[in-house]
Symmetry: C2
Subunit: 213 residues, 2 copies
DNA sequence: CCGAATCCATAACGATACTG
DNA sequence: CAGTATCGTTATGGATTCGG
Protein backbone atom coordinates (compact mmCIF):
# COMPACT_ATOMS: atom_id res chain seq x y z
CA UNK A 1 0.00 0.00 0.00
CA UNK A 2 3.00 2.25 0.12
CA UNK A 3 2.91 2.37 -3.64
CA UNK A 4 0.71 5.39 -3.97
CA UNK A 5 1.63 7.30 -0.85
CA UNK A 6 2.08 10.98 -0.31
CA UNK A 7 5.47 10.96 1.33
CA UNK A 8 4.10 12.67 4.39
CA UNK A 9 3.66 11.59 7.95
CA UNK A 10 0.33 12.55 9.49
CA UNK A 11 -3.17 11.44 10.30
CA UNK A 12 -4.84 12.87 7.23
CA UNK A 13 -2.34 11.49 4.75
CA UNK A 14 -2.55 8.16 6.48
CA UNK A 15 -6.32 8.13 6.10
CA UNK A 16 -6.12 9.10 2.46
CA UNK A 17 -3.65 6.35 1.79
CA UNK A 18 -6.17 3.87 3.14
CA UNK A 19 -9.44 5.14 1.68
CA UNK A 20 -8.46 8.01 -0.58
CA UNK A 21 -8.48 6.21 -3.86
CA UNK A 22 -11.28 6.45 -6.31
CA UNK A 23 -14.37 4.39 -5.36
CA UNK A 24 -12.92 3.31 -2.00
CA UNK A 25 -15.04 5.67 0.08
CA UNK A 26 -18.17 4.69 -1.81
CA UNK A 27 -17.54 1.06 -1.06
CA UNK A 28 -17.23 2.03 2.58
CA UNK A 29 -20.43 4.05 2.34
CA UNK A 30 -22.41 1.09 1.08
CA UNK A 31 -20.88 -1.26 3.61
CA UNK A 32 -21.88 1.13 6.38
CA UNK A 33 -25.46 0.23 5.51
CA UNK A 34 -24.69 -3.44 5.96
CA UNK A 35 -22.64 -6.36 4.67
CA UNK A 36 -22.82 -6.69 0.93
CA UNK A 37 -21.95 -9.25 -1.68
CA UNK A 38 -19.68 -8.55 -4.58
CA UNK A 39 -22.60 -8.32 -6.95
CA UNK A 40 -24.56 -6.06 -4.64
CA UNK A 41 -21.66 -3.67 -4.44
CA UNK A 42 -21.27 -3.77 -8.19
CA UNK A 43 -24.96 -3.00 -8.60
CA UNK A 44 -24.95 -0.15 -6.08
CA UNK A 45 -21.88 1.38 -7.71
CA UNK A 46 -23.14 0.63 -11.18
CA UNK A 47 -20.37 2.48 -13.00
CA UNK A 48 -17.49 0.78 -11.23
CA UNK A 49 -15.50 -1.55 -13.47
CA UNK A 50 -15.33 -5.00 -12.03
CA UNK A 51 -11.55 -5.04 -11.99
CA UNK A 52 -11.51 -1.84 -9.95
CA UNK A 53 -14.03 -3.24 -7.52
CA UNK A 54 -11.97 -6.37 -7.13
CA UNK A 55 -8.79 -4.35 -6.65
CA UNK A 56 -10.34 -2.05 -4.07
CA UNK A 57 -11.80 -4.92 -2.12
CA UNK A 58 -8.37 -6.49 -1.93
CA UNK A 59 -6.71 -3.28 -0.85
CA UNK A 60 -9.32 -2.52 1.77
CA UNK A 61 -8.91 -6.01 3.13
CA UNK A 62 -5.16 -5.72 3.21
CA UNK A 63 -5.36 -2.50 5.18
CA UNK A 64 -7.88 -3.84 7.66
CA UNK A 65 -10.82 -1.69 6.66
CA UNK A 66 -13.05 -4.49 5.42
CA UNK A 67 -13.29 -8.22 5.80
CA UNK A 68 -14.23 -10.98 3.37
CA UNK A 69 -16.59 -13.39 5.06
CA UNK A 70 -17.72 -16.66 3.51
CA UNK A 71 -21.32 -17.28 4.59
CA UNK A 72 -22.23 -20.84 3.83
CA UNK A 73 -22.45 -20.60 0.05
CA UNK A 74 -22.02 -16.86 -0.53
CA UNK A 75 -19.27 -14.42 0.22
CA UNK A 76 -20.04 -11.10 1.83
CA UNK A 77 -17.85 -8.12 2.54
CA UNK A 78 -18.25 -6.20 5.74
CA UNK A 79 -16.48 -3.44 7.57
CA UNK A 80 -14.07 -4.29 10.34
CA UNK A 81 -14.52 -2.38 13.60
CA UNK A 82 -11.85 0.00 12.35
CA UNK A 83 -13.70 0.42 9.07
CA UNK A 84 -16.92 1.19 10.88
CA UNK A 85 -15.16 4.07 12.56
CA UNK A 86 -15.23 5.79 9.20
CA UNK A 87 -18.88 6.59 9.73
CA UNK A 88 -18.21 10.12 11.04
CA UNK A 89 -16.03 10.78 8.01
CA UNK A 90 -18.66 9.58 5.59
CA UNK A 91 -21.41 11.51 7.35
CA UNK A 92 -19.33 14.69 7.37
CA UNK A 93 -18.60 14.28 3.69
CA UNK A 94 -22.26 13.70 2.98
CA UNK A 95 -23.35 16.75 4.91
CA UNK A 96 -20.84 18.88 3.06
CA UNK A 97 -21.71 17.55 -0.35
CA UNK A 98 -25.42 17.82 0.29
CA UNK A 99 -25.17 21.58 0.55
CA UNK A 100 -24.34 21.99 -3.11
CA UNK A 101 -26.26 19.04 -4.36
CA UNK A 102 -28.34 20.47 -7.17
CA UNK A 103 -30.87 18.63 -9.20
CA UNK A 104 -29.82 15.25 -10.52
CA UNK A 105 -28.16 15.15 -13.88
CA UNK A 106 -29.61 12.99 -16.58
CA UNK A 107 -27.29 10.05 -16.04
CA UNK A 108 -27.31 10.11 -12.25
CA UNK A 109 -29.06 7.32 -10.44
CA UNK A 110 -30.27 7.00 -6.87
CA UNK A 111 -29.34 3.85 -5.05
CA UNK A 112 -30.91 2.52 -1.87
CA UNK A 113 -27.60 2.53 -0.04
CA UNK A 114 -26.65 6.07 -0.98
CA UNK A 115 -30.12 7.25 -0.05
CA UNK A 116 -29.89 5.45 3.25
CA UNK A 117 -26.62 7.15 4.10
CA UNK A 118 -27.98 10.51 3.03
CA UNK A 119 -30.88 10.01 5.39
CA UNK A 120 -28.47 9.11 8.16
CA UNK A 121 -26.56 12.27 7.35
CA UNK A 122 -29.66 14.40 7.65
CA UNK A 123 -30.97 12.64 10.75
CA UNK A 124 -31.32 14.98 13.70
CA UNK A 125 -30.96 12.80 16.71
CA UNK A 126 -31.84 15.38 19.31
CA UNK A 127 -34.98 16.40 17.47
CA UNK A 128 -36.07 12.82 17.01
CA UNK A 129 -35.58 12.09 20.70
CA UNK A 130 -38.53 14.33 21.50
CA UNK A 131 -40.88 12.86 18.94
CA UNK A 132 -43.03 9.75 19.17
CA UNK A 133 -41.73 6.62 17.44
CA UNK A 134 -42.63 6.78 13.79
CA UNK A 135 -42.25 4.50 10.81
CA UNK A 136 -42.13 5.76 7.25
CA UNK A 137 -42.30 3.80 4.03
CA UNK A 138 -40.58 5.90 1.43
CA UNK A 139 -40.24 5.24 -2.24
CA UNK A 140 -37.39 7.53 -3.28
CA UNK A 141 -36.86 7.11 -6.95
CA UNK A 142 -36.10 3.43 -7.40
CA UNK A 143 -35.25 2.94 -3.73
CA UNK A 144 -37.87 1.48 -1.43
CA UNK A 145 -36.90 2.29 2.13
CA UNK A 146 -38.52 1.44 5.40
CA UNK A 147 -37.50 4.04 7.94
CA UNK A 148 -38.04 3.68 11.62
CA UNK A 149 -37.35 6.44 14.08
CA UNK A 150 -37.60 5.51 17.72
CA UNK A 151 -36.26 8.02 20.17
CA UNK A 152 -32.77 8.93 19.07
CA UNK A 153 -32.39 5.68 17.15
CA UNK A 154 -32.71 5.51 13.40
CA UNK A 155 -33.13 2.34 11.42
CA UNK A 156 -33.32 2.39 7.65
CA UNK A 157 -33.71 -0.75 5.64
CA UNK A 158 -34.69 -1.74 2.17
CA UNK A 159 -38.19 -2.80 1.40
CA UNK A 160 -41.56 -2.03 2.83
CA UNK A 161 -43.36 -2.47 6.13
CA UNK A 162 -46.22 -1.24 8.23
CA UNK A 163 -45.67 2.47 8.31
CA UNK A 164 -47.45 5.44 9.83
CA UNK A 165 -46.85 7.30 6.62
CA UNK A 166 -46.08 6.00 3.17
CA UNK A 167 -44.97 8.40 0.49
CA UNK A 168 -43.21 8.56 -2.83
CA UNK A 169 -40.81 11.18 -4.06
CA UNK A 170 -37.95 11.64 -6.46
CA UNK A 171 -34.55 13.19 -6.06
CA UNK A 172 -36.16 16.50 -5.19
CA UNK A 173 -36.89 15.13 -1.75
CA UNK A 174 -33.70 17.08 -1.22
CA UNK A 175 -35.72 20.28 -1.33
CA UNK A 176 -37.78 19.08 1.57
CA UNK A 177 -34.76 18.07 3.61
CA UNK A 178 -32.96 21.31 2.95
CA UNK A 179 -35.99 23.32 4.00
CA UNK A 180 -36.28 24.85 0.56
CA UNK A 181 -39.78 23.44 0.45
CA UNK A 182 -42.25 23.15 3.32
CA UNK A 183 -43.95 19.80 3.75
CA UNK A 184 -47.22 21.38 2.76
CA UNK A 185 -45.77 22.81 -0.42
CA UNK A 186 -43.96 19.60 -1.19
CA UNK A 187 -47.28 17.79 -1.29
CA UNK A 188 -49.10 20.59 -3.07
CA UNK A 189 -46.53 20.74 -5.85
CA UNK A 190 -46.37 17.00 -6.23
CA UNK A 191 -42.75 16.69 -5.10
CA UNK A 192 -43.99 14.29 -2.48
CA UNK A 193 -46.94 12.04 -3.06
CA UNK A 194 -48.64 10.66 0.02
CA UNK A 195 -49.59 7.05 -0.51
CA UNK A 196 -50.93 6.07 2.89
CA UNK A 197 -51.46 7.75 6.20
CA UNK A 198 -51.93 11.34 7.29
CA UNK A 199 -49.96 13.83 5.20
CA UNK A 200 -49.33 15.87 8.33
CA UNK A 201 -46.74 13.30 9.31
CA UNK A 202 -44.55 14.65 6.57
CA UNK A 203 -43.88 17.60 8.85
CA UNK A 204 -42.48 15.24 11.41
CA UNK A 205 -40.39 13.64 8.73
CA UNK A 206 -39.06 17.01 7.62
CA UNK A 207 -38.09 18.05 11.13
CA UNK A 208 -36.47 14.68 11.77
CA UNK A 209 -34.45 14.76 8.58
CA UNK A 210 -33.08 18.20 7.99
CA UNK A 211 -29.85 19.58 6.65
CA UNK A 212 -29.62 23.30 6.08
CA UNK A 213 -27.77 24.32 2.97
CA UNK B 1 -16.03 18.79 -13.45
CA UNK B 2 -18.55 16.20 -14.44
CA UNK B 3 -15.80 14.45 -16.31
CA UNK B 4 -14.85 12.11 -13.54
CA UNK B 5 -18.15 11.61 -11.84
CA UNK B 6 -19.66 8.54 -10.30
CA UNK B 7 -23.02 8.56 -12.01
CA UNK B 8 -24.80 8.70 -8.69
CA UNK B 9 -26.92 11.31 -7.04
CA UNK B 10 -26.17 11.84 -3.37
CA UNK B 11 -24.32 13.94 -0.84
CA UNK B 12 -21.30 11.69 -0.53
CA UNK B 13 -20.75 11.25 -4.25
CA UNK B 14 -21.17 14.97 -4.69
CA UNK B 15 -18.50 15.64 -2.08
CA UNK B 16 -16.13 13.14 -3.65
CA UNK B 17 -16.60 14.70 -7.04
CA UNK B 18 -15.46 18.00 -5.58
CA UNK B 19 -12.59 16.96 -3.33
CA UNK B 20 -12.15 13.25 -3.91
CA UNK B 21 -9.32 13.36 -6.38
CA UNK B 22 -5.79 12.68 -5.45
CA UNK B 23 -4.08 15.56 -3.59
CA UNK B 24 -7.24 17.67 -3.43
CA UNK B 25 -7.96 17.00 0.22
CA UNK B 26 -4.35 17.71 1.17
CA UNK B 27 -4.53 21.08 -0.52
CA UNK B 28 -7.64 21.77 1.51
CA UNK B 29 -5.87 20.60 4.64
CA UNK B 30 -3.04 23.05 4.19
CA UNK B 31 -5.38 25.89 3.28
CA UNK B 32 -7.31 25.23 6.48
CA UNK B 33 -4.21 26.42 8.30
CA UNK B 34 -4.23 29.66 6.34
CA UNK B 35 -3.97 31.18 2.87
CA UNK B 36 -0.99 29.89 0.97
CA UNK B 37 0.92 30.81 -2.12
CA UNK B 38 1.49 28.40 -4.96
CA UNK B 39 5.06 27.82 -3.90
CA UNK B 40 4.10 27.28 -0.28
CA UNK B 41 1.59 24.63 -1.27
CA UNK B 42 4.17 22.99 -3.51
CA UNK B 43 6.65 22.98 -0.63
CA UNK B 44 4.16 21.59 1.89
CA UNK B 45 3.11 18.85 -0.53
CA UNK B 46 6.64 18.27 -1.67
CA UNK B 47 5.84 15.24 -3.82
CA UNK B 48 3.08 16.85 -5.81
CA UNK B 49 3.97 17.47 -9.46
CA UNK B 50 3.50 21.09 -10.38
CA UNK B 51 1.10 20.29 -13.19
CA UNK B 52 -1.12 18.37 -10.79
CA UNK B 53 -1.03 21.20 -8.29
CA UNK B 54 -1.97 23.65 -11.02
CA UNK B 55 -4.77 21.39 -12.24
CA UNK B 56 -6.20 20.85 -8.74
CA UNK B 57 -6.11 24.54 -7.97
CA UNK B 58 -8.08 25.25 -11.12
CA UNK B 59 -10.63 22.56 -10.38
CA UNK B 60 -11.08 23.63 -6.78
CA UNK B 61 -11.61 27.18 -7.94
CA UNK B 62 -14.10 26.14 -10.58
CA UNK B 63 -16.13 24.25 -8.00
CA UNK B 64 -16.08 27.07 -5.47
CA UNK B 65 -13.94 25.39 -2.84
CA UNK B 66 -11.00 27.78 -3.04
CA UNK B 67 -10.34 31.26 -4.32
CA UNK B 68 -7.34 32.78 -6.07
CA UNK B 69 -6.59 36.15 -4.54
CA UNK B 70 -4.02 38.58 -5.92
CA UNK B 71 -2.41 40.38 -2.96
CA UNK B 72 -0.52 43.37 -4.27
CA UNK B 73 2.39 41.52 -5.90
CA UNK B 74 1.74 37.95 -4.86
CA UNK B 75 -1.08 35.54 -5.45
CA UNK B 76 -2.50 33.51 -2.61
CA UNK B 77 -5.05 30.74 -2.53
CA UNK B 78 -7.58 30.57 0.22
CA UNK B 79 -10.65 28.57 1.05
CA UNK B 80 -14.04 30.00 0.30
CA UNK B 81 -16.59 29.88 3.14
CA UNK B 82 -17.87 26.68 1.59
CA UNK B 83 -14.36 25.27 1.46
CA UNK B 84 -13.79 26.09 5.11
CA UNK B 85 -16.79 23.95 5.94
CA UNK B 86 -14.62 20.97 5.05
CA UNK B 87 -12.86 21.31 8.38
CA UNK B 88 -15.04 18.67 10.10
CA UNK B 89 -14.32 16.29 7.25
CA UNK B 90 -10.58 16.84 7.45
CA UNK B 91 -10.56 16.52 11.22
CA UNK B 92 -12.59 13.31 11.09
CA UNK B 93 -10.24 11.89 8.51
CA UNK B 94 -7.26 12.89 10.60
CA UNK B 95 -8.65 11.31 13.73
CA UNK B 96 -9.35 8.09 11.89
CA UNK B 97 -5.97 7.94 10.21
CA UNK B 98 -4.15 8.79 13.41
CA UNK B 99 -5.32 5.57 15.00
CA UNK B 100 -3.22 3.42 12.72
CA UNK B 101 -0.42 5.86 12.22
CA UNK B 102 2.66 3.86 12.93
CA UNK B 103 6.20 5.11 13.00
CA UNK B 104 7.24 7.26 10.08
CA UNK B 105 8.71 5.51 7.10
CA UNK B 106 12.09 6.55 5.89
CA UNK B 107 10.87 8.82 3.13
CA UNK B 108 8.06 10.44 5.07
CA UNK B 109 8.41 14.05 6.05
CA UNK B 110 6.58 16.15 8.61
CA UNK B 111 5.33 19.49 7.43
CA UNK B 112 4.24 22.38 9.62
CA UNK B 113 0.77 22.44 8.10
CA UNK B 114 0.11 18.75 8.47
CA UNK B 115 1.38 18.88 12.04
CA UNK B 116 -0.84 21.86 12.74
CA UNK B 117 -3.91 20.04 11.50
CA UNK B 118 -2.96 16.94 13.45
CA UNK B 119 -2.76 19.03 16.59
CA UNK B 120 -6.16 20.50 15.80
CA UNK B 121 -7.44 16.97 15.37
CA UNK B 122 -6.15 15.94 18.76
CA UNK B 123 -7.23 19.13 20.53
CA UNK B 124 -9.69 18.46 23.33
CA UNK B 125 -11.70 21.61 23.62
CA UNK B 126 -13.64 20.68 26.72
CA UNK B 127 -10.49 19.67 28.56
CA UNK B 128 -8.67 22.83 27.56
CA UNK B 129 -11.56 24.97 28.76
CA UNK B 130 -10.77 24.01 32.34
CA UNK B 131 -7.06 24.69 32.13
CA UNK B 132 -5.19 27.96 32.48
CA UNK B 133 -4.06 29.66 29.26
CA UNK B 134 -0.82 28.12 28.13
CA UNK B 135 1.64 28.72 25.33
CA UNK B 136 3.93 26.03 23.99
CA UNK B 137 6.84 26.36 21.63
CA UNK B 138 7.22 23.01 19.96
CA UNK B 139 9.86 21.88 17.56
CA UNK B 140 8.34 18.82 15.93
CA UNK B 141 10.80 17.46 13.49
CA UNK B 142 11.45 20.29 11.07
CA UNK B 143 8.30 22.15 12.08
CA UNK B 144 8.57 25.01 14.56
CA UNK B 145 5.13 25.65 16.00
CA UNK B 146 3.92 28.17 18.48
CA UNK B 147 0.83 26.80 20.17
CA UNK B 148 -1.46 28.87 22.28
CA UNK B 149 -4.33 27.39 24.22
CA UNK B 150 -6.67 29.84 25.84
CA UNK B 151 -9.87 28.43 27.19
CA UNK B 152 -11.47 26.40 24.46
CA UNK B 153 -9.59 28.32 21.77
CA UNK B 154 -6.56 26.89 20.02
CA UNK B 155 -4.15 28.87 17.93
CA UNK B 156 -1.25 27.21 16.18
CA UNK B 157 1.15 29.14 14.07
CA UNK B 158 4.57 28.70 12.61
CA UNK B 159 7.59 30.07 14.36
CA UNK B 160 8.52 30.75 17.90
CA UNK B 161 7.30 32.97 20.72
CA UNK B 162 7.28 33.45 24.45
CA UNK B 163 6.08 30.13 25.72
CA UNK B 164 5.45 28.59 29.09
CA UNK B 165 7.05 25.43 27.84
CA UNK B 166 9.42 24.88 24.95
CA UNK B 167 10.16 21.36 23.83
CA UNK B 168 11.48 19.40 20.92
CA UNK B 169 10.30 16.04 19.67
CA UNK B 170 10.15 13.96 16.54
CA UNK B 171 7.37 12.05 14.90
CA UNK B 172 7.06 9.90 17.99
CA UNK B 173 5.26 12.76 19.69
CA UNK B 174 2.40 10.58 18.44
CA UNK B 175 3.10 8.20 21.29
CA UNK B 176 2.51 10.97 23.76
CA UNK B 177 -0.72 12.09 22.11
CA UNK B 178 -2.06 8.56 21.87
CA UNK B 179 -1.33 7.95 25.53
CA UNK B 180 1.06 5.17 24.68
CA UNK B 181 3.68 7.12 26.60
CA UNK B 182 3.19 9.15 29.74
CA UNK B 183 4.67 12.66 29.76
CA UNK B 184 7.16 11.55 32.38
CA UNK B 185 8.28 8.58 30.33
CA UNK B 186 8.39 10.66 27.17
CA UNK B 187 10.94 12.91 28.77
CA UNK B 188 12.83 10.08 30.44
CA UNK B 189 13.22 8.16 27.20
CA UNK B 190 14.20 11.22 25.23
CA UNK B 191 11.13 11.19 23.01
CA UNK B 192 10.49 14.71 24.19
CA UNK B 193 13.29 17.06 25.10
CA UNK B 194 12.36 19.98 27.30
CA UNK B 195 14.15 23.12 26.16
CA UNK B 196 12.69 25.74 28.44
CA UNK B 197 10.21 25.87 31.26
CA UNK B 198 8.92 23.30 33.73
CA UNK B 199 8.69 19.82 32.31
CA UNK B 200 5.54 19.25 34.33
CA UNK B 201 3.71 21.35 31.79
CA UNK B 202 4.07 18.50 29.36
CA UNK B 203 1.32 16.78 31.31
CA UNK B 204 -0.97 19.66 30.55
CA UNK B 205 0.02 19.41 26.92
CA UNK B 206 -0.72 15.71 26.86
CA UNK B 207 -4.15 16.14 28.37
CA UNK B 208 -4.94 19.00 26.03
CA UNK B 209 -3.89 17.07 22.95
CA UNK B 210 -5.06 13.53 23.15
CA UNK B 211 -6.42 11.03 20.68
CA UNK B 212 -6.93 7.48 21.86
CA UNK B 213 -6.03 4.80 19.36
C1' DC C 1 -25.16 -17.04 -11.85
C1' DC C 2 -21.56 -15.11 -8.82
C1' DG C 3 -16.92 -13.62 -8.13
C1' DA C 4 -13.66 -12.40 -10.18
C1' DA C 5 -9.44 -12.17 -14.01
C1' DT C 6 -7.93 -10.53 -18.67
C1' DC C 7 -7.45 -7.38 -22.49
C1' DC C 8 -7.11 -2.94 -24.39
C1' DA C 9 -8.15 2.04 -25.33
C1' DT C 10 -8.20 6.14 -22.88
C1' DA C 11 -7.40 9.40 -19.29
C1' DA C 12 -4.95 10.77 -15.21
C1' DC C 13 -0.75 10.97 -12.97
C1' DG C 14 4.35 11.77 -12.14
C1' DA C 15 8.93 13.58 -13.37
C1' DT C 16 11.39 16.85 -15.62
C1' DA C 17 12.14 20.66 -18.36
C1' DC C 18 10.74 25.02 -19.75
C1' DT C 19 8.67 30.01 -19.92
C1' DG C 20 6.92 34.85 -18.77
C1' DC D 1 7.81 32.78 -8.40
C1' DA D 2 3.88 30.92 -10.68
C1' DG D 3 2.76 28.37 -13.45
C1' DT D 4 3.01 25.41 -18.81
C1' DA D 5 4.54 21.89 -21.80
C1' DT D 6 6.08 17.50 -22.78
C1' DC D 7 6.26 12.72 -22.35
C1' DG D 8 6.57 8.15 -20.24
C1' DT D 9 4.06 5.52 -16.74
C1' DT D 10 0.12 4.10 -14.18
C1' DA D 11 -4.77 3.81 -13.26
C1' DT D 12 -9.21 3.72 -14.90
C1' DG D 13 -13.20 2.31 -17.76
C1' DG D 14 -15.61 -0.90 -20.64
C1' DA D 15 -16.07 -5.29 -22.61
C1' DT D 16 -15.34 -9.87 -22.50
C1' DT D 17 -13.96 -14.22 -20.56
C1' DC D 18 -13.07 -17.69 -17.00
C1' DG D 19 -13.83 -20.79 -13.10
C1' DG D 20 -16.70 -22.80 -9.32
Amino acid sequence: MAARDYGQYGGITRALELVGERWAMLIVRDLLVGPRRYGELAAGLHRIPSNILAARLKELQATGVIRRVPHSRVIVYELTPYGRELEPVVLALGAWGFKTLGDPRQEQVITPDSMTMDLRTAFRQQVAANLPPTAYAARLGPAELFIRVDGSALDVRRGDGTADLAFAAGADIRRLISGELTPHLAIATGVVEVLRGPGDLLERFASTFHLAV
